[in-house]
């Protein structure tokens, strides 16, 4: 599969602190890549570097297999983007705002109308954008990004400010883009639930570092149940079970086992009882995606 975006040890330092550190991000053709992370994790900074809006302190970005620094106009011509809050001229109408981008991008009139129709702003196009609601401004931003029907779409938190109906509408739209227009989409969000419903690949960033990158399937596979076991003598039990082929980790007052079948659990229990170690609890705990995300990004941080 063709790599559309790849970054190599991408870093950005402001003052003495690194906002982004050694990020290696890979987006393949036709994917919807969800770029997840808490607020302030470095998502927007990374996306800005991918679009050439911010200069990396270290590292390199290649888009469509070409070095960004040397091929910026070529790359940007085939990329649509919406970074952070939507950009607009409040004194112009929605249509006039689209015309500004149309002039810059040199695209035909029909694209303008189609993009406005896709985000359902075609009936509001003659209203001044200053009078738009936040959701409408966000839709206009998406329409501007779609205007040239680019090969790559970079959207930074595109559902910010949208109501639940708007969010699901935009989600369905984004999901349809790879098939309908052969686009590759890189979308960032701090909401796992949002990414979970549309992304095919995921990257999780925290404190400027990439904590996880892989397919949605891989992330979901981390969703395996664990067996928590509590005995009167955990230390002895851990040693005994280790020799029996059941390695575990100690967590609070429990021993934690991964990937155990029912039979193995019964077996382990039997071993402990015959060794006169009293078993007081056997629990199965399932991790949901939310807690995997929290584990990866650190629980103490607010999302």
């Amino acid at each position: 599969m063709n790599q559309i975006i790849s970054t190599y040890n991408l870093s950005k330092r402001y003052g003495k602190t690194y906002r982004v550190k050694n990020v290696n991000l890979t987006v393949n053709e036709g994917e919807i890549y969800g770029f997840l992370g808490p607020n302030g994790a470095g998502k927007s900074t990374t996306l800005k570097m991918i679009l050439g809006l911010a200069r990396p302190t270290e590292g390199k970005v290649t888009v469509f297999g070409k070095d960004l620094e040397a091929n910026r106009p070529f790359i940007l011509n085939q990329t649509g983007s919406l970074i952070e809050s939507p950009s607009y001229y409040a004194h112009l109408t929605g249509l006039e705002n689209m015309r500004v981008v149309q002039r810059l991008r040199n695209v035909p009139d029909k694209n303008v109308m189609e993009a406005l129709k896709i985000v359902r702003l075609d009936k509001q196009k003659d209203k001044k954008v200053g009078q738009y609601s936040l959701g409408m401004k966000q839709r206009l931003g998406i329409a501007m990004a779609l205007l040239s029907f680019p090969k790559l779409l970079v959207l930074d938190e595109p559902t910010n400010g949208l109501d639940p109906a708007g969010i699901s509408e935009i989600r369905e739209l984004i999901k349809s883009l790879p098939q309908r227009y052969e686009m590759t989409v890189l979308i960032s969000s701090h909401l796992l639930s949002e990414i979970e419903l549309m992304a095919t690949s995921v990257g999780i960033i925290n404190d400027g570092r990439m904590m996880f990158q892989g397919s949605m399937e891989e992330l979901k596979n981390k969703n395996r149940p664990t067996i928590m076991l509590k005995t009167q003598n955990n230390k002895l039990a851990q040693e005994l079970l280790f020799y029996k082929g059941f390695p575990s980790m100690q967590q609070d007052e429990f021993l934690v086992f991964e990937n155990m079948t029912d039979e193995q659990v019964a077996n382990a229990n039997r071993t402990l009882v015959s060794a006169n170690i009293d078993v007081v609890r056997i629990e199965e705990r399932k991790k949901n995606l939310e807690s995997i995300f929290m584990d990866i990004t650190g629980k103490e941080r607010s999302l």
Partner: protein, 251 residues
């Protein structure tokens, strides 16, 4: 050219030209009223020289403020809507964006200058000035005013683009207006460092008070040339520094 036409497109509904015209009208009405009063007190003054000298000194007050407002309106629309990232990701080049804004502001100020020229001629003819229309003086007056405008626009644009809060740029414009009006009161060594003082500094007619009477003296082109060169060089320097500085700012 495309960048300039885009700038003009973006100025739709802003009524910038209308505002500039209103500003021009207020200035011209004020000047003509003042000139009428002078002529009615002493008909010896009735001449083109006086008209040009007074307009030059009033320009020192009005045009820096008008330039500050125009430039601020042209630049502020990018700050207000966060549109720099939109333009840059649509592969617009920062330097051409900066240049397009500079040229747009210059065009508006140029229109105002030409209207002033026409107003001067109309006023002189309407008041029956005896001498013929002094095209040479008028041309030199316009050149001086346009060059000063262009340097002031460069200063204002640098501030308006690099500092988001337009209060700074507008305050600078007002301070400039004050300096421009009071420029003749400063000694030459101080005056030449203020770009706003060049409206009167490059004016082909100067005023001087001798034995309690105002005299209007025509300056020859050669004596104005060094100041003109200094102003142009300073203007180019300020423009380039501003453009490079703003291009390096991250969005």
């Amino acid at each position: 050219m495309r960048a300039i036409s885009l700038e003009l497109y973006k100025l739709r509904h802003k009524r910038l030209f209308l505002m500039a015209m209103l500003f021009f009208t207020v200035e011209i009405v004020w000047i003509f009223m003042a000139v009428n009063v002078s002529i009615s007190r002493n008909s010896d003054y009735a001449g083109w020289e006086m008209l040009i000298a007074i307009i030059s000194s009033m320009n020192g007050l009005f045009l820096p403020i008008l330039a500050a407002i125009c430039v601020s309106r042209i630049c502020d629309m990018e700050h207000k809507g966060n549109t720099m990232k939109l333009l840059l990701t649509a592969s617009a080049r920062r330097s051409s964006l900066y240049a397009a804004k500079y040229i747009t502001a210059s065009i508006i100020m140029l229109v105002v200058c030409f209207l002033q020229g026409i107003a001067i001629i109309a006023f002189g003819i309407a008041n029956g000035f005896e001498q013929p229309v002094p095209l040479n003086l008028l041309t030199r007056f316009l050149i001086g005013t346009v060059l000063t405008n262009m340097t002031i626009i460069a200063v204002q644009q640098w501030i308006s683009m690099s500092v988001k809060n337009q209060v700074f740029a507008l305050t600078l414009g007002m301070i400039g207006g004050f300096i421009g009006m009071a420029a003749d009161l400063f000694p030459f060594e101080v005056r030449r460092f203020f770009v706003w003082s060049y409206y009167t500094g490059l004016s082909p007619v100067t005023q001087s008070y001798t034995s309690e009477k105002i005299q209007f003296m025509i300056q020859d082109m050669n004596s104005l040339l060094p100041a003109m060169v200094i102003l142009v060089v300073a203007g180019i320097g300020i423009y380039l520094t501003g453009s490079i500085h703003v291009s390096r700012q991250e969005v």
